[in-house]
Amino acid sequence: MRTKYIHKKAKNISIFGSITGLFVILLILGNPLNVNAQTDEFANEPVSGTFETGLLAETQTVATPFAGEFELHVQHRFGLIENGLEDVFGIYATSNIRMGLNYGITEKIMVGYGYTKEFKLQEFHGKYRVLTQTESNSIPVSVAVYANLAINSQDKSVFGNDYKFSDRLSYFSQLLIAHKFNDNFSLQFGPSFTHFNKTDTLVEHDKVALSLAGRAKVSPSMSIFFEYDQPLNIDDMREFASDENDPEANLSFGIEIGTSTHVFQVFMSNYEGITPQRNILYNKNKIDDGDFLFGFNILVRF
């Protein structure tokens, strides 16, 4: 049993190392965005379009709505594809849906509200863009902080004995660091912290996770993207001795189409929770087992 832990720990650390390592190497190798002398005029301008929108599949990005702009989100996750034609690859299976509204208070601050069907989650969130990468790379990365609070609004009998309102609350916070390599390619690295006030039996209350996401344009309005999330299931950080309830990593990949007023993302993913803290702490779908599902995000700006 102990060997298994050590093996798992080593695996986690090596994944952690590879993700951060890769990001740092890419940052160093990445050519400055502009090498032409004529671009001096724009040297200190913030880069545009690191990501199409503030949401990429399952993760937040460094982007926020413009000041005074609303964004309506419709996020949909179908069932797992495992049953094949029986439920048309999950299309007819039970699905999870989130509707949300974001508002840009200033160019840098966003607030929003959303509700998710599973666990009747009411979610309030906010994002602050701390730094924006410049054309000359004098600021080499865009940095944003994201935080949310989700309220589980199911019947209180779900929470068992000694019910308190605070049992309903869960939190997710993330630091987002992104670099736009050129007009076609951007990468983002995001360590996050998840906390649940009350969890299922033998499920940890806190979880640190890492996410790496990237986007590559394949035509002026279409891109392909990926996202990988690794919860750090490390023994030294473990609340309980058992690793039975350890959450699984996630891989999402798909296509994105962006227009002036809409963004469409269609992808495959292991996550079905939509709300990030549910995904990070409770995901049991394994990449290795092919536990993928279809999902889409639609975003309307107005």
Binding site: N36, F42, V47, G49, A67
Partner: protein, 134 residues
């Protein structure tokens, strides 16, 4: 009652007909002098044209069309013809004039200062529009 029905039918016909009225040609623009003589700070090179194409395809093509003929999928619903960017008359305008019309806008042509916040993106779309020249 019969007269009433006829009146209703005529009203419906008129209403339907009002949608088939041809688009009017855009009236002359009043462009401030500062824009008229404004210099394009961005060299018209391949990189800026490529960037401009991205911006154009995202924000402009739905009305102005893939090749700037004003035949995008949304164009038919506009009251004013969005213009033919391939014409000599259009291309004869200065970059500053095009900038004012494209980014500042008026009436049905929306203002894009917020949606295209980067100055570089704003000028690159002007450079891309120059490639429509026949």
């Amino acid at each position: 009652m019969k007269t009433f029905k006829i009146i209703i039918l005529v009203a419906i016909a008129l209403f339907a007909f009002s949608f088939t009225v041809q688009q009017k040609k855009a009236g002359p623009w009043e462009i401030p002098a500062e824009y008229k003589k404004m210099e394009n700070p961005l060299a018209n090179d391949k990189a800026s044209v490529n960037k401009g194409k991205m911006v154009y395809m995202k924000h402009c093509r739905s009305c102005h069309g893939n090749t700037g003929l004003g035949d995008g999928p949304k164009a038919a619903r506009l009251k004013t013809f969005p213009g033919d960017f391939t014409s000599a008359e259009f291309q004869a305008q200065s970059d500053g004039e095009l900038f004012y019309k494209s980014i500042i806008g008026r009436d049905e042509m929306p203002n894009y200062e917020k949606k295209i916040p980067s100055k570089k993106d704003q000028w690159s779309v002007i450079n891309y529009m120059r490639t429509f020249k026949k």
